[in-house]
């Protein structure tokens, strides 16, 4: 972890995020990892809005926000400029899942294909929260959002999460990783590795949003942990396109995670939708299979 002067946080408290905001914790951890010698290019979204209401800013490092969909292009220009000037700051983008997986894909794809020396962090809270909880390409299957609401003929979001890490690995990114705020040291180490790897690197960090998902604000870290324990979120690294080091777990049934969140409430009330819960369990099982995360137990399974 880079040293933070006088114990002072580079991402300061007093910003306007909801209590228990997962993305706010990710921002704090991010700057612990980068230290001061960094320039941040941010996307429009909750994090930008809660951290920089003019004339206040939570960012103790140089920070720029231009638009919702262009941080990767802005960062490309910053990186080129620093190179010309012989400067050493690391260039890091940060955007939500909507910015990253949906509207910003063109800019990200271009920046990664060109091989800029940047690190892109996507904080994944699984919907457009800033505009009032609309679905994104990262919204999980079955989640109710304001644009994928559950209804008499809808089970919520009809599609599984888009596999952005694989898309960027396919661009030839030397280092791609997923992380979770439930494992802060792991996230910090991954950021350190990414910023010290030449070329474009990507980290998608799972950041539960109490407001958008519908859980108590004290439960954020538990929710992040449950996502991993059920296999619905997998922490792994991809080096030169090959998966390495996926975090192993003794999996719990997905139901334990789903039933704690309002966005999945329609799967339990008024009637239990075992069929949909089973489909979501199937997604977790497929994740476990793909990444080999199951801890094989000697004793027979329960």
């Amino acid at each position: 972890m880079a040293e933070v002067e006088g114990g002072c946080e580079l991402f300061s408290a007093g910003h306007r995020a909801c209590g228990g905001c997962g993305p706010a914790l990710a921002a704090r951890l991010l700057l612990k990892a980068t230290g001061k010698n960094v320039i941040i290019a941010a996307a429009t979204g909750c994090m930008e809005v809660f951290s920089t209401p003019y004339p206040e800013t939570a960012w103790g490092v140089p920070w720029i926000h231009s638009l919702f969909e262009n941080p990767a292009a802005v960062a490309s220009g910053i990186e080129a400029s620093l190179k010309r000037q012989g400067r050493t700051e690391k260039v890091v983008c940060i955007g939500g899942d909507g910015s990253t997986l949906d509207i910003g894909v063109l800019c990200i794809s271009g920046a990664f294909e060109r091989g800029h020396d940047i690190t892109y962090i996507c904080y994944d809270n699984e919907a457009y929260m800033n505009t009032g909880i609309q679905r994104s390409g990262a919204t999980p299957y079955g989640a109710s959002t304001t644009t994928s609401p559950a209804g008499s003929c809808s089970l919520g979001n009809p599609r599984p999460k888009k596999d952005m890490p694989a898309i960027l690995a396919a661009h030839g990114a030397p280092y791609v990783a997923t992380a979770s705020i439930a494992y802060p040291n792991d996230f910090v180490q991954k950021v350190e590795r990414a910023i010290n790897t030449p070329g474009p690197c990507y980290i998608q960090v799972h950041t539960p949003c109490c407001t958008g998902w519908g859980f108590e604000s004290g439960e954020t870290l538990n929710m992040a942990k449950l996502a991993i324990e059920t296999g619905l979120w997998v922490n792994y690294e991809m080096v030169d396109g090959r998966v390495e080091k996926a975090k192993k777990v003794s999996r719990k049934p997905v139901e334990e995670y789903l039933q704690k969140q309002k966005r999945f409430r329609h799967l339990f009330k008024p009637a239990r939708r075992d069929d949909v819960i089973a489909q979501i369990q199937g997604i977790a099982d497929a994740n476990a299979e793909r990444f080999g995360i199951d801890i094989k137990r000697k004793e027979s399974s329960e």
Binding site: T52, S66, L67, A73, G77, I78, L106
Partner: protein, 384 residues
Amino acid sequence: MLEFMEGSHAVAEIVKRCRPQVIAAYPITPQTHIVEDLAQMVANCEIDAEYITVESEFSALSACLGASAAGSRVYSATTSQGLALMFEVCFNAAGMRQPIVMTIANRSLGAPLSIWNDQQDSISLRDSGWLQFYAEDNQETADLHMIAYKVCEDHDILLPAFVCFDGFILTHTFEPVALPTQEEVDAYLPAFNPYQRLDAENPLSFGMYATPEYYMEFRYEVDQAMQRAKQAFVKAGREFGEQFGRDYSALVEGYRLENADIALVAMGSICGTVKDAIDEMRENGRKVGLLKIRAYRPFPAREIADALKGVSTVAVLDKNISLGNGGAVGTEVKSALYGSGISVYDYIIALGGRDVRKKDIAAVVDLAEKGKGDMFYGLRTEVL
């Protein structure tokens, strides 16, 4: 020394001498020759810049914005559909006060698809906070780039600028152009000195979010900078004249306006044709002159009113149409002359590359004399 060269090449040569440190551009007709020439100059180490081969115009301007904020002089060029794709970034770059210079090789906007010239593209961005300068020929195009950098980077201004020149009519035309040497350009245009930059030594937040308590003041300040840009342009244009002998201190420039009854008002390459037509009409005893608008933003309303004081009729040639309300330049000239008693007529002309000949200019003057205007000129009624 005059050299015979293509307009696009003249732009690339002058941009090279302005020493941009980061170039980001995406090819589009008729801008392509500029960015190809610059790429070759970078490939030959004739120019010490990073050239970012972006995947779209949207990213071209976004990358310029980032590089500018990080402290580099930047350059881009585009036109038409490319500029339309940059719309959001244009407003953003101006609001963030980044002194970006971008060449616009003016071209019409689809639909229908057309690669030919009019000025709809840049005019559609008139409210974006970019300075807009229009060139009549390739010499002026080249010269305006140096002036644009000087004005934009002035710490009292800090706004981006379009240098507009007509697609094909100028971009692909060979004309004699005097290119200053590197030493001469360096003497005119000092190295980029950013007012503020992204820097770990002095962390600042750029592009924050403003509540209703602050937003209007930001916009007011951009407008104030626009107003100040008039004086900054006059000064930079005069200094240019002192050094190079070509004076650009005028935001609007009259041609044979002395004792004119009728004045044409136009921007860009059409002014050359208009001047020739005026010479002929003058020979036939008609009292006609031209007012060429060089700076469209900031809009020189007072200068226009002063220059046109003596005329009774004004005919504005608009290579654009604000659909539903006539031409953009005509509308603004009318507003500049409001209360003067001068009759102002607007002519939508030469859209999508329709050729304009001297006889068309004479025909417009005839129409204005008869009090007929606010119309499309030269419609082929047989295909309607």
